[in-house]
Each structure stands twice: as structure tokens, then as C-alpha cells.
Amino acid sequence: MIKAENVVKIFNSHAGIIRAVDGVSTEVAKGEVVVVIGPSGSGKSTFLRCINGLEAFTEGHILIDGVDLADKKTNINKVRAEVGMVFQQFNLFPHKTVLENLTLAQRKVRRRSRKVAEEKAYALLKKVGIHDKAGEYPSRLSGGQQQRVAIARALAMDPKVMLFDEPTSALDPEMVGEVLDVMKQLAREGMTMIVVTHEMGFAREVADRVIFMDEGKVVEVGTPEHFFTNPKEDRAKLFLKQVL
């Protein structure tokens, strides 16, 4: 489903050259849930953003259903429509209602009729538990509600894979659960997911595989059971000691 081969992303900033992602290779099978963890600045977000082309990588290949993002002929908009992304800051469109947030790309990109798009939107809002807020503007919603709308917005495109970049990090603690519940349900339904998170409980419960990154590299990979009980690498041990 997703195959990353030796992906390198170099930032040339005034602070110097940063190898944010430094040779990451991994494969994610259909229906698999992969959780990416690691200290801040280890390149998790950058790697995730490379997968849907928000960040153009410097070296390597990323194949999504066999389509190579490194290939110049690849239509990146088409790929993005298949790859849903949920951001830490929700990034809902503030000038559009919840319903319009969900129908905009369906209509503009998928060319669905208003009726079809709205039916889909209502069904998804119901699924994430916010069907009574369809006409509201995002600013009227709590953080947890906004993030659930953002998940629904991504799902409305019928993506083949969902990427989550610390979806609960900007939330008040009491709202983390409602968002994780939606994600767990998605995982149970067989959605292919790559999740960057600090929620170790979620990783333990839902992940098929845990990837630990540090300084742009994959340091350790394994099942949650292996990773949380018996990590091999010192850096992983240190990290776990700090977060658990």
C-alpha cells in the first residue's frame, strides 16, 4: 500500500542544513495501523508530510499503491485525494460551516453533486458524533469536536490511507478520549493508518507496529508488545522511560 525507500528530507534554513528525515525505509500494508513515536524534532511530522507531498523530499522514493511520488509525472493532487491527513491544529476552514468543510473538496475534487456530498457529510458527522452541529461555524465548536470534524472531512474523500500528525496534542486533556475513540473505531474498520502520537495507550491498544524515530532515522521497529516491554535500543529505552 505504502512503501518508503530510503527517504531523505534536507532543510536548508538560516540555521544551517538539517537532515530532518535521514534515510527512512518502511512499508505499510493495507489495513495496517502504524504508530510513529519519538522525541520532538526527530522528523516524524516531516516524514508524514512527505507521504502526501506537502513536503517534497530530497532523495528516495515513496510509492502509494504503486504510484511513485518522486516521479515528476505523478499528479500530486490525485495522490493527495487518496491520502487523508489530520493535523495537530485541526486546520478547519473558519469561513465555512461544518457541513461546507466536509463538502468542499468532495465537490471540487471528487466532482460530487451537492446532494451526494451532503449525504456523505451527514453520515460521517453522525459517525464522529457531531451530526447536530452541521450548520455551525468551526469557531463555535470545542477542540475535540473540531478535530472530529477534521477527521470526518478527511474521510469524506474516501481515502485509502489516513495520516494523523499528533491529533490530540493541541487538545485539553478531557477531550483527548473522544478523538482517540473515533480513531480506534476507524482502525477496527480496517482503515490503513499512520499515526504520529504521544498517546502510548493508543499505540499499545491499536497499533500493529510501532516505529521509533530519532534524529531523522528509524531507530527501532516492532510490535507494541515487543516495543513497550522489551526494547533493544538504548535511545528507545530512554524515551520510554521519559514518557511512561
Binding site: 506537502l54 493535523f87 476552514f93 469561513h95 468542499l104 475534487v109
Partner: protein
């Protein structure tokens, strides 16, 4: 400390200061013994024109029918041509049966007409309005070009903006009129509108660019991550949010344009300022006319500011 919301002492102070300033001005004007002629001013807003109604042939007055203020005079020529003229009753200068020659006055029609100050104001307004529309389109395109990824497009936009912002509007108007106007054979109105549009367009471009850059990056990323292309992202997500943000500076720019348009009077466009100068040469009421013109500009700009203020409040609903 207890917070007080007594504002009246400060209001009183404000009024006192204004009164002192007015008195000072008054005193200074008294000293130079200026002859105020305010009574000459109103006619330049509105005047009662008397248009002479003349006979177009040699003939006689056949009938005169008066009904109230209006009188209808029927004239017949030597070869039985008939002509009916309507005039104001009290200006009737002929009697029934009288012989008239071509060009004789039958009477007058009085009519209220807008004076040069109003005509000048009208010119200023439409000139500014048309220039604003062009400036908006030009500024929007240039603002987008300024953040384009293409070097050439970005370079052209930057050069345009820097050239306009780095030279005085007065010089631009002269260049537009004497250089471009001569080379391309353009009328003064076209040159005036062109110069004002180019001038305001550069400032609008900077406002648009700043407005777009003020939208959080996450908005564009969210739209792109849903598969929307860069055009759809701009039109559906970025611009609607940016335009709301730039409405106040944008309207400020257009209000400035009304004031800046006074400079087109140097290429003999009869706008409000030019009308004023023309009136002064015939009345010598220099102080009065310039004061009146200042108040007229002030009125127009304050009315517009108020309209914008209400629009902003209505726009604020979705957040």
C-alpha cells in the same frame, strides 16, 4: 484605586481647546483684514439658470395661453409653420398679434442647475470610482504575482510596485499625460484614470499580499491535503479569509484615492479641486472656496468610512 468613567471633564477640555484654536484663527484672520464673501459661495453649488426661449423664424404671435406659472405661446411663420413655446409666465416678453423676427426672445424658462462645485465633485467621484475598480483588479493580480513561485512573474510585480511606491503621484500623472498620453494619443481622462489606477494598484497589491500571507499556512496545507489544486485552494480557502482581513486597509486605500485624485487637476481635468481654482479666479473668495472644498472632501471620506465601518460589523458575523 476605583475606576471612574467620568468623561465629561475631558470632553469639556476638548471643546475648550477647540474653541481656543478657533478664536486664535479668527483673531489672526481679523488682523489681515480679509474680506469674507460667503454670500458668493452658494451659487457655485446650485443656481437658478434663465434660459431664453427664442423664435426660430420670422412670424407673429398667434395665441398666448397662460395656465398658472407656465405660459404657452403659439407662433406662426409667414409660410404657416407653427411653433409652441413654453415659458415662465412672469417672463413673457411678447403680446398676441405681435410681429417677431428670427432670434427674438419670447420669454425665459427658469431652472435649477448644479454649479461647478457639484460638477467638480461628481467628476472627482466617478474618476475615483473607476480608478478604484481598476486598482482592485490590478492590485489583486499583482498581489498574487508577488507571492508567485515563478521568478519572472514575481520580479515583474516587484518592479511595478517598487517603481510606483518610490515616485510621487504628481510625477506619475505628468508622465502618464505628457509622455504616454502623447505617444499613444490618449485623452486626459484616460491618462488621469490610468495614473490613479496604477498608483493605487501598487498599494492594493501590498495589502493583498500581506493579507494572504497573514492566513495561517495550515489552511493552505489542509486544502492541498484534500487534493484541491493551488487555484482552488486560493479561491475557495485563502482569498475569502484574506479579503475579510484586508477590507479595512483596502477601504482606507480607496478613501485615500479620493483625496489623491485632486492631483489630476494639474492635467486640466475639472475635478473638485480644479473647479475650486477656476471659481477663485473669478470671485477672489480664496479662503471661502478652499474651506468649502476641504469640507466637501471631508464629508465624502467620512461618509465612506462610516459605510465601511458598518460593512465590517456585518462581515464579522462568521467568527
Amino acid at each position: 484605586m476605583i475606576a471612574t468613567n467620568k468623561t465629561w471633564p475631558w470632553k469639556l477640555l476638548l471643546v475648550a481647546i477647540l474653541l481656543v484654536m478657533a478664536a486664535g484663527t479668527w483673531g489672526a484672520v481679523q488682523k489681515i483684514e480679509y474680506q469674507w464673501r460667503w454670500y458668493r459661495v452658494p451659487q457655485y453649488f446650485l443656481y437658478h439658470a434663465e434660459d431664453a426661449q427664442k423664435i426660430a423664424f420670422d412670424g407673429i404671435v398667434q395665441t398666448i395661453k397662460t395656465s398658472g406659472d407656465v405660459t404657452e405661446v403659439v407662433l406662426v411663420s409667414e409660410n404657416a409653420e407653427k411653433l409652441t413655446v413654453s415659458i415662465d409666465t412672469d417672463t413673457l416678453q411678447v403680446s398676441e398679434g405681435e410681429d417677431l423676427f428670427e432670434g427674438d426672445t419670447v420669454g425665459f424658462v427658469r431652472q435649477w442647475r448644479l454649479g461647478p462645485l457639484m460638477m467638480g465633485l461628481w467628476t472627482t467621484l466617478w474618476l475615483s470610482a473607476i480608478s478604484s475598480v481598476f486598482a482592485l483588479v490590478l492590485g489583486l493580480l499583482t498581489g498574487l504575482a508577488r507571492i508567485s513561485k515563478n521568478f519572472t512573474v514575481r520580479g515583474l510585480a516587484t518592479i511595478y510596485v517598487e517603481c510606483i511606491r518610490g515616485t510621487p503621484l504628481l510625477v506619475q500623472i505628468f508622465l502618464a499625460y505628457f509622455f504616454l498620453g502623447t505617444v499613444f494619443d490618449l485623452s486626459r481622462n484616460v491618462c488621469g484614470i490610468g495614473a490613479l489606477s496604477l498608483f493605487a494598484g501598487a498599494y492594493v497589491a501590498e495589502i493583498v499580499r500581506a493579507g494572504i500571507q497573514a492566513i495561517p499556512k495550515g489552511q493552505g496545507e489542509a486544502a492541498r491535503s484534500l487534493g484541491m489544486n493551488s487555484f482552488q485552494t486560493m479561491v475557495e480557502v485563502i482569498l475569502p479569509q484574506a479579503l475579510k482581513k484586508i477590507l479595512p486597509p483596502l477601504s482606507g486605500q480607496f478613501i485615500s484615492l479620493i483625496k489623491d485624485s485632486s492631483l489630476v487637476s494639474v492635467i486640466a481635468i475639472t475635478d473638485l479641486t480644479k473647479s475650486g481654482r477656476e471659481i477663485i479666479t473669478s470671485t477672489f473668495a480664496t479662503f471661502e472656496i478652499w474651506l468649502v472644498i476641504a469640507v466637501m472632501y471631508l464629508l465624502v471620506t467620512s461618509i465612506l468610512s462610516q459605510i465601511v465601518y458598518y460593512m465590517e460589523r456585518r462581515f464579522a458575523i462568521s467568527d
